[in-house]
Subunit: 274 residues, 3 copies
Amino acid sequence: MVRACVLQGSILKKVVEATKDVAAEGANLVFSTVGFSLKATNPSLGAIVAVVLPADAFDSYHGVCTVSMIVDLHCMSRIFHVSSEDDIITVEECPEPEGVSLVFQNPRHDKTSEFRMKEISIDKEWLLHPLHIPEVEHHSILETENLATLKMPSLVFQRICSELADIGDSGSVLVTIKVTEEAIKFKTKGELGTSIVTCSQKFDVQKPEESVVIEMNEPVRVKFSLKLINSVTKAASLSDRVTINFLREMPSVFEYKIAQTGYARFYLHPSKEL
Amino acid sequence: MVRACVLQGSILKKVVEATKDVAAEGANLVFSTVGFSLKATNPSLGAIVAVVLPADAFDSYHGVCTVSMIVDLHCMSRIFHVSSEDDIITVEECPEPEGVSLVFQNPRHDKTSEFRMKEISIDKEWLLHPLHIPEVEHHSILETENLATLKMPSLVFQRICSELADIGDSGSVLVTIKVTEEAIKFKTKGELGTSIVTCSQKFDVQKPEESVVIEMNEPVRVKFSLKLINSVTKAASLSDRVTINFLREMPSVFEYKIAQTGYARFYLHPSKEL
Amino acid sequence: MVRACVLQGSILKKVVEATKDVAAEGANLVFSTVGFSLKATNPSLGAIVAVVLPADAFDSYHGVCTVSMIVDLHCMSRIFHVSSEDDIITVEECPEPEGVSLVFQNPRHDKTSEFRMKEISIDKEWLLHPLHIPEVEHHSILETENLATLKMPSLVFQRICSELADIGDSGSVLVTIKVTEEAIKFKTKGELGTSIVTCSQKFDVQKPEESVVIEMNEPVRVKFSLKLINSVTKAASLSDRVTINFLREMPSVFEYKIAQTGYARFYLHPSKEL
């Protein structure tokens, strides 16, 4: 039996696109018998990414072993770029100098494409360990540590951040997020002037998927790199809704739920400059 | 009562796009109780732009005061770029350091975007005065001063100029416009060779909107910067037809009529090099 | 009578697009009473292009004389770029300094565009002669010289080469083509790793146009510049199928059949580096 994992590739392609910018320094991908996970830390951006996709998040998933790889997601992205939406992907380890083999088979069977990728050499030990972010483990957040929780359509969040970036000048611009009981405000200052986008609490029984829910314990005022926030919002392709937890003296958590139990989570350290 | 003007933004967005390149050195925008106007001079290009949009040219327009601002239209363009077709815009003056506030509210009410723009400091006195182009005031042109008038579909005019620019080499290329009784000829010379586009007098009772009408008093042969002419043709988004007046020893006038009494007019000095 | 050839331009536009990169050093175009031909050699790429389009390959073709020109196809491409699909083109010689005139008339008759192109000065004598590639004349290939013949959908061939180029790094990458009785393999090595695309022999009575047919006398293993192969595959716009002949100690022949008796043929010298 081939020691490989065979899966339908479209959701994996979305995960790679959604995380490649935040995980720019390399990511640990694990394909196992129960599903897929991706972990990456980016110390220079002050960000951590964790993606968990159980087998049932895929249209089809069949894993007979565990294949673990540390790869450059921008390379993965270029490989997925030439794949079709409905390609079946076989992932397996292969001998050096390349460490991983990805085989794409399309349903029309007119060609088979194999890519043997080089793994990147980073501090593997660290990456292969469980993520060292116990303080922000999602289910263990104490009520008293949670300043505010925001739930909104992921596309609205993406449009707001993209709008601010289009007006803003450069990669160094910060966005200030201010949460009150009624509204969340995003503010940037650039050469052109000042941009303020306001998103108010909103609930329509007819369209609960469009609701904007603010649960505030304490008012929040944090700053993030506008470019980093924009990278995070790409995960809108993975989920219709985003939940943002603003925590006391801890990274904020941006969570996109996928299928029943899967998720993509981004842990961002607020910028010090206030 | 808020001292502001509230209006539907789509036509304003088109005006900004159509005039930003000709008015590259800044424009004076006035929102008043009766409508909108834009004035700009560009001495280095030898061009003047005047746009007048009465309130009825907008889907909705409500002004309770006059807001005047001198702004960089390329900044305005970036702000409008992120707006939606159906956004309602509130324009008002705001305190320094920004001088103007534009608030965009979309009908879905999922967010409100405010942009506080810096005004640009140019010779305000001059700009705020009525345009100093009495000699070319449209309604006062003497018959004897009018060499020729050309009326044609604005998209055909745009396609011709864009075609010449695609073949031509650089921004320094000139286009020669030659008007005879039967036809108008556009000619450029570049590295690739010579391009000549001919547009003949034409009238079809079934499709009067496609007619090309030449009223010639004297044959015309003038040159303009091909790049500048191409900037002017962007106003095709504002009107289906363009009227060009070639005047004796005065700038030529390119007029796009908007709604009942509105217009965008470009006054271009022909290039001296002949 | 005007000494010109009048023809419908859409297929000519496709020919120019499909050959301009391989024929980057200039091409000889001949419009005659019986049809059109294009010949070009590119010594630096080790490639020869020959296109023959009999009059019946055009929607309409009417030639009363022979017009021959040596032109830069990238210039031609820019001129055709602004033409419409259904333009009628009149080709005739014109006086120096430009040598050729192309007049585009669209069926809506709203404008006529004339381009007077400069011919390029290359070793005309050589180019105007019949192509000096008798050893690879298609119909005279001896069975014993033909290592293998491959027939496949031109779009599949194009997708494979484009996929390898998207993953590959730069213009200097080589693609190795390996033909066995069952399959053809395309392999490249780049910074990201190794890519191998396999296309198997395939025949479906229901869809003969999707068949992949391998006729192998001897196994083949040749290398070409990936960039050059990608330029060749643009001819997929001219024909649904491509036939590749791998010959002993001779250039390989990539043939795209057009209409009944027309064709575009690319003769490529395999790269020496093995």
